[in-house]
Each structure stands twice: as structure tokens, then as C-alpha cells.
């Protein structure tokens, strides 16, 4: 999953070149510095390229002396932000076991574990204890909140406010503002739950509204309908 935002023209030119390198000449130790710079650029400009990062992890695999744990950590944070895509584990497959034991990476693996198993509260608690890792990458919080909402949207038709709050780590007035914004722009509906506080109605999709899926499966091609046009007329 590639998240793209507007970047200044100059930066766009650099990333175009790196993407070309990865497509045309990926098995080349000389491009390692370019790929490392590109990771830092992805972090600062809030863009993402899985292919380029995998290319770099491969080169680290080929020449372990050149590996930078810091860069690997940044790649993993970006991969975490790409959830629900399995990018994080795809990166782990390329990182030697002893490197995964290093403090920074161990923490990220724990964070990934919490997200994979739906343990949002534990995730936010652990993330709070490791601000230096997660604050180093702009857009991290929003990306995880987007993932959380994705999972909630698969699961809930109507979700109680406290459950939502815990999942996206927003409370009180900030949450009110957030809900207003979602109601105005993303089709969320705010209801009064029976005595227990707010209920948020999430947008309908085929995963939380199975009848939507059924409709798609039972479609009849137009050519078949033409058979009975004379009758209907």
C-alpha cells in the first residue's frame, strides 16, 4: 500500500529516480546510500515505498556490515503504519534474528504484535512508553488510528463510544471534535445509546453488513432480463 501526498517538485524528482533504480537495477550495492536517503525522505515527507525498502533490506542481507539499525527501525515503523497490509512481517523475514533482538526493534515487534491481535489499549500504552521511537516518524499516530478504524469498520455496525475511544486513543473533547469531523466527512452517525452513552454508527460496507455482499453475488446479467422485456412491456 503506497500512501502518497503532495511533495515539493524537487523531492518528487529524487524519489522518481530511486523508484527507477529499484525497478531497473535493484541488485546493485552502489544504490545502498540512495535507498537509505530515500527511507529518511519517506519519513519526513510522509510517503511510503515498500519495494524500495525491501530492496534496501535485501542489500543489508547481502552485506551485513553496512546495515544501519536506525534505518531498519525507521523502515519497520513505516511498515507498521501500512497496516492492515502485512508489510511489517515481510520486512522481518529479511532481518537476521540477532538484529531483531536489539532493543529498538524488539519494541517495534511488540507493538506490531499488539496491533495484529487487536490489543489496542496495550498498543497505545506501550507506544506512550516509547515516544522517542514513534514520534520520530510524522504521521504515525494518524496511520495507526486509521488502521484501528479499519478493524472497527470490519467488526461493528454500531460501536459504543468507550470502545472506539480506547481503540483510537482519543478521549473527551478531542474525541467529540473527532466524531463531529467524521460525521461531517465520512458518513458516521452519532446516536444515543440506551442509557449507556453514545453509539457511533459506522459506514456500511460488505464486512459489517453482510447483506451488501449477498446482493453482489446474486446479480443477474442484463442480457437475461432482455428475454422478458416483451412480457414486462
Amino acid at each position: 500500500m503506497v500512501r502518497e501526498r503532495e511533495t515539493p517538485k524537487q523531492q518528487q524528482q529524487v524519489s522518481y529516480t530511486v523508484e527507477q533504480l529499484v525497478a531497473v537495477n535493484p541488485y546493485n550495492p552502489d544504490i545502498l546510500p540512495d535507498l537509505e536517503n530515500y527511507v529518511n525522505e519517506q519519513v519526513s515527507s510522509q510517503t511510503y515505498s515498500l519495494d524500495a525498502n525491501l530492496c534496501l533490506l535485501r542489500l543489508y542481507q547481502f552485506e551485513p556490515e553496512r546495515m544501519s539499525t536506525q534505518i531498519v527501525a525507521r523502515i519497520l515503523v513505516k511498515a507498521l503504519m501500512a497496516m492492515p497490509a502485512p508489510d511489517f512481517s515481510l520486512c522481518l523475514f529479511l532481518i537476521p534474528e540477532r538484529v531483531q533482538m536489539e532493543e529498538q526493534l524488539k519494541t517495534l515487534i511488540v507493538l506490531s504484535h499488539y496491533l495484529e491481535t487487536g490489543r489496542f489499549r496495550q498498543f497505545w500504552d506501550e507506544a506512550a512508553k516509547n515516544r522517542h521511537i514513534v514520534e520520530a516518524v510524522p504521521g504515525f499516530e494518524q496511520a495507526i488510528q486509521t488502521y484501528a478504524i479499519h478493524v472497527l469498520s470490519l467488526t461493528y455496525q454500531k460501536i459504543p463510544r468507550p470502545v472506539l475511544a480506547e481503540a483510537i486513543n482519543i478521549e473527551g473533547l478531542s474525541l467529540d471534535k473527532f466524531l463531529e469531523h467524521q460525521a461531517a466527512n465520512s458518513g458516521w452517525i452519532l446516536e444515543k445509546g440506551h442509557g449507556r452513552g453514545q453509539l457511533i454508527v459506522l459506514p456500511r460496507n460488505e464486512f459489517n453488513h453482510p447483506e451488501l455482499k449477498k446482493i453482489a453475488a446474486d446479480s443477474v446479467p442484463l442480457e437475461h432480463i432482455t428475454r422478458i422485456f416483451t412480457i414486462l412491456g
Binding site: R58, L90, G118, I228
Partner: protein, 520 residues
Amino acid sequence: MAANYDYDEAPATYDDANRQELGYDPNFVPDSVKSFVVHLYRHIREKNVYEIHQMYEISFQKLSDRLFKDTPWPSVDAVAHYVDNDQVFCLLYREMWFRHLYARLSPTLKQRIDSWDNYCSLFQVVLHRVVNMQLPNQWLWDMVDEFVYQFQSFCQYRAKMKNKTEQEIALLRQFDQAWNVYGVLNYLQAFVEKSNIIQILEQEKEGIEQFTATDGYDYSGGSNVLKVLGYFSMVGLLRVHCLLGDYQTGLKCLLPIDINQQGVYTSVIGSHITTIYHYGFASLMMRRYVKAIREFNKMLLYIYKTKQYHQKSPQYEQILKKNEQMYALLAICLSLCPQTKLVEETVNSQLREKYGEKMARMQRYDDEAFAIYDELFSYACPKFITPSAPSFEEPLVNYNQDAYRLQLKLFLYEVKQQQLLSGVRTFLKVYSTISLGKLANYMEVDEPTLRTILFSYKHKTHAVDSDGNIISNADVDFYIDDDMIHVVESKPVKRFGDYFLRQIVKLEGVINDMDRIRLE
């Protein structure tokens, strides 16, 4: 001529190697061999692909069985003068020579390095000179397959540093370019690029080019060698990337080949199986279980129907081995993603016979289950490699298992994360609605924990496909309304639309008949 993947690695000491060399005379050329090379050379010059194939597949095998059961073929120098010292033929002969060596004997380090040199020379010729040959697809596939195999074998060999002699270490240091990972990948990439195969396949879809229709052969007087090597190199790249643990890139390399259709990759059974095996394995590791199940199912059914035709072929053993491995992988996939309706009846009954009991135990997710996942994965997985050169400085250790251990560890980690899902599934199958509180009670967890389990279930059963779309592979699904769980079972959809259409037409017919009746 598929290599046997299970034999012993190189002899432990140099003495064994020397003894091997002294055991036969490399310059003695039996008459049958002289006849073999003379005829093969002529057929290649005359571009008689059928005859080349017969000699390559059958005669070579027969002579190997009869005369060279455990010795190498005569050296290329001994046969060169029978074939006008033709450079290209000699390179091809040597390629077969080394392949035979790897299959029947254990190559020494020197021989491994020489084989690499031979591949380099042969590939340079194909890439940079105009080669006027047509070779059978079987041979061209075997070249790529063997190239990757020897690379894998070298990495395994090199990683066992503990018992290396000083001579071996000196050779390794001196010839550090031999079977270098960059070299291997760049040759495969060079074939893909220089042959223009990706554009050819694109243009074929638009009807401008012909490739698949002719099985890759060139009927306008040209050569098929570069094009077909380029094509098979895409499969080669998939394989190498799987060995490195890079499943995403591996699948990307295979993209230009449409595995939902016949193609040149299906023209050789070895290539067909290798492609699907690695495609399926990569999909499994990327949690695209439905894709993996579908492809394994198709391949296993195909093997079931056609393996009798390959009984006499040198690939037979390999076919059977890969068949068993794919059943193991299928068992794993179905335990993680129960979708038995995707599996054809014949394959399903074979599966139940081989792994029925194990699959039942895997779905219990206790310690025993993990042991079985471990066992099946270890049996069926590719022989992962550590591509980097060893450090000669450290105390010499064997690190040839490191790569495999990492992949296994991460795989079991994923299995562990899915541990609680099986329990939830059982309950969901029994209820149509149930409150969170009640279900939490039955599962003996508190409500917040139950919520995490349900979130996890949803996340793990809704995979992200290659286009970034969410695909559900849940056999049992649900949604929650406030604190009530509503279970949705995926039943086969009744096609009401068709039914109504039929009834409408029928009713119209009845009405028309009635109109024609006059009441008297």
C-alpha cells in the same frame, strides 16, 4: 535432468575429492559417447529440436545410467575435437557435465567454482552474441533451474565453515566472486531484460507478438534461446527471492506470467511445478491463504492426472517429492484458513489420507499443534540461504541453518497469533446471535479480551491482496451491534434472479394458453 535435492554436500576433506578424481580416466571416451556428441552437435547445428530433445532427455540419461553411474562423463577436452572444438557446444556439454556431477556425485569446491565459470561463459555468449540455435524448452528450463540450484547448494556449503580445510578457505577467499549473490541475481535479471520478454508477453496479449502460441520456439529462422531463458529466468528470480525470504519481490518478478492460463511455463512439467510451488509458498507467507489453496489445489490435481506419463522421466522423483511437499503446505493453509470447499474432491481425499489426523490436531492450537506446524513447515519449505559471504575472522561456525530458523520462527509466530481464533470459530458456528457478555463467559475471558479476540479474528481473516483490496477468507463471519454479536454463515447463494426469470416466462406461457381457450 533435475538435480536430486537430497544428497550429501561436498566431501569433508580434500583427500576424498582427490580419490574421486583418480577413480576414473577423464580422457577416455567410449564409442557411445563419441557417437552421442557427434550426433548432438549435428542436430544442434541443423536446429533439429525434436532430435536434440530425444538425445538430451533420453540418450544422455541412458548413457549416464549405463556408463557413468558414479563417475563423471569424459572431460570436455577429450571430446572437443569430435565437434570441431565448437566453443558453444563445449559450453553446453560442460553444463550437462556439471549437472550430472551434482546429481550423482558430490562436487568439490574447485568443481563448484569451475561450474560457475562455465555458466558465466555460457550466459555471456547468449547475452552478448547472436546465437543461432533452437534448444528444447526442457533443456533451457533445466539450465535456469540448475543454475539456481547450484547457487543454493553453494550457499549451504559455504555456510558450514566449521570443518573447512585451509585449502578450502584459501580458495573461497580467492574466488569470492563465484556464486556471488549479486552475480546470480544480475544474470537472471539480464536475461529478463535483454530478451525483452516482458514486452513480448504484453504485446502478445494485444496480438502483435507470438510467443506462447509457438511454445517460445522461433519459426522464422531465429533462435529461441535468449527469449525462453528470459522467460524462465522470471521463475528463477521468484525462486531466488523465496530462498532469501523476500516473498513480495518474488511474486512481483513472476507477475508478467499469467498463472491462470497455460503458458510456456506449463510446457515443461518441472517449470510448472516449481512456479506453482513457489507461488503458493510465497502466498502462504504473505497470508494470502485463499490464493495459495487455489493454486496448490489446481497443481495437485494436475499432477494426479498426469504423473503416470512421467514415470520413466528423470524428473519423476522430483515430481513426487514436490507433490508431497505441496500436500503438506495445503494442510497448513487449510488449518489456518478452513475453506475446504476450495479443494477438489480427489485432492481432498488424498489430503485427508496423508494429513487428516495431523490437520485435526493442528486446529487444536496446543503445544502438540505447534510441533506439527513445525514439522510440516520444515518438511515442505524451500532451502533458505544466507546470501552474505562468511566472515573468515570469527571462530568458524556452521550458520547454514540460520535462514531456515528465522523463517520457521516467524511462521510459528504468526500461527501463535492465530491461536485463539479457532476457539471463536467453534462458538460462532453454534450461535446466530449472542451477546458479548455471554460469549466472554463461555470462553472464560473478560469482555475486553473477547473484543481483542474478535478484532484479531476480523483482521486475520480479511487479507490485503496485491491490489490493496480487502478480501474476506472467513468461513464463518459476524458483525457486532453495540454489544450483540450477529453471526453470518457463508451459505451457497440461492440464485433467485434466475429462478424468477424462469417462472415469469413460464407464467406468461400459461396465461397465453388460457387466453386461447374459448369458453363455450
